[in-house]
Amino acid sequence: MNGVEGFMYPNEIALHWSILIVLYPYITGLVAGAFILASLERVFRVEAVKPTYRLALLTALAFLLDAPLPLQLHLGHPERSPEMYFTPHATSAMAMFGYVYLWYLMAVLVFEIWLDYRREIVLWSQETKGLLRIVYKIMSLGSTNVSDRALHIDEKVGWVVTLIGIPSAFLLHGYVGFIFGSIKANPWWSSPLMPVVFIFSAMVSGVAAVLLLYMAMTKLRKQPIDMRCVDTVAMYMFYIFIIDFSLEMLDLVHRIYEADESFRSLDFMVHTRLFVSQIVLQILVGTLVPLVLLFITQVWKRSLTEIVRKRIYVICGSLIMISVFAMRWNVVIGGQLFSKSFLGYTTYKMALATREGLLAAIGLTILPFLFLWVLVKLLPPWPTEKAAAVSGD
């Protein structure tokens, strides 16, 4: 009977949170992860990853601009979403979204990007013509002060902003984990580990995204890839992934050991309805394979050639991005496939061309790359002929 096995409460049969709600934590996770990579250089002075610094910030911004869109498409009344700003309910983790998002967008990301690019923005506002000139003029906020002292102040303030940005990034994505982790009605979600697991998997996915983007864009620019940079990024990706994997295994082992009333039902669900997405994609192919490959590159770095290491990084980065998406799928969709009576299961019937369908999800996944393309054109992350002429390099 319509994809139901066993017994579901009648109102539970259709899923209420669709693939768009899988996409939302994935995207904010990429934002948080990309930002953490940027902070590695800015706050923790890991010089090696500097070539990815500006790209990481722009990637974070591109995805952050896309992030509210899956939510807007999901809401029954998106025109009422300003209510979250006017009357946020203090006991609801979701109510936090509006303010945390706005804080992170304006007071962290846009502020930091502006401070880092300000010198070039002022110079481009004087060099370029037409519409572009107006855009840069607005971005400069009418100030043309690029004296050494002003730039020094920008540097110091930027450092503080990045420092504040780290807990802000954790808050931006951690609250999403709390949205799920605080629901006592759903034993697949309810766990104090949930925000932590979300944050660590976010970091891994964001770092992987920037790694892949850096390698792809450097290749497109026909420039040599800075191996010291990608080796270091991959190293951090490896260590964060170990922590993430340990946390997820801890959750799994804890569940199996305690075997509370939900365990039998959830266990069956994982072995049947979530077999491909969880056991195959998330754990085996998406976690164990990259961990082994990255381990090999860490231990035998000298004996592996550049080409081999680059190939491994591309494979691992791609598998990690698939794995973290699978993790979001398993949490969101998995949490709705079993009955809260623990007596049955339903099926997710993903639509194709509706507001919350597959096509919408694909479109919203492609869109941030378009945003990134515009941002990279407007604020090039690496010295180009334009920047070189301006700075006299």
Binding site: Y85, N145, A150
Partner: protein, 162 residues
Amino acid sequence: MKYFKDSGHLFRFAGLFVIAFLVFWAIRGYVIPRTFGQYGHYRAAAITEIAQHPLHYAGHDACETCHSDIADTKKAGKHAHVNCEACHGPQAKHADDPGSVTPAKLDTAVLCVRCHEASAARPKNFPQVNAADHSNGLPCETCHQPHSPAIGADTATKGGAK
């Protein structure tokens, strides 16, 4: 003052925030519903709106105001606690304007079996029959008066076996 000499651009950026905040505060005062927060974090007017939802069932007290004779028959019989609309359906429109709205005639073949069709799932002491065998196809009201259905029931007016 020398610390502020080269940070004018920062004040401009901060200024954007201040302006945005003031605009937000102004809009907020205008947009928040008037009754919001009166009893709690919600729009108090919603309570009134929900309470004014139209009635479809009149409730047995309304029926008994006019149909007191049937009410008396029923009170003395086995269906004493079965309210009128449980069989007759929602009759608020009829109670509101009895002359112009006439309740539909009921089909006992469908109605009675809903409760009285025999099933091992039902409580053992509940009166139930296998309808196909029980009456040889005769409609239930041939022998049972619905308002006091027990055969041989001692009722004030009508009721009991025919």
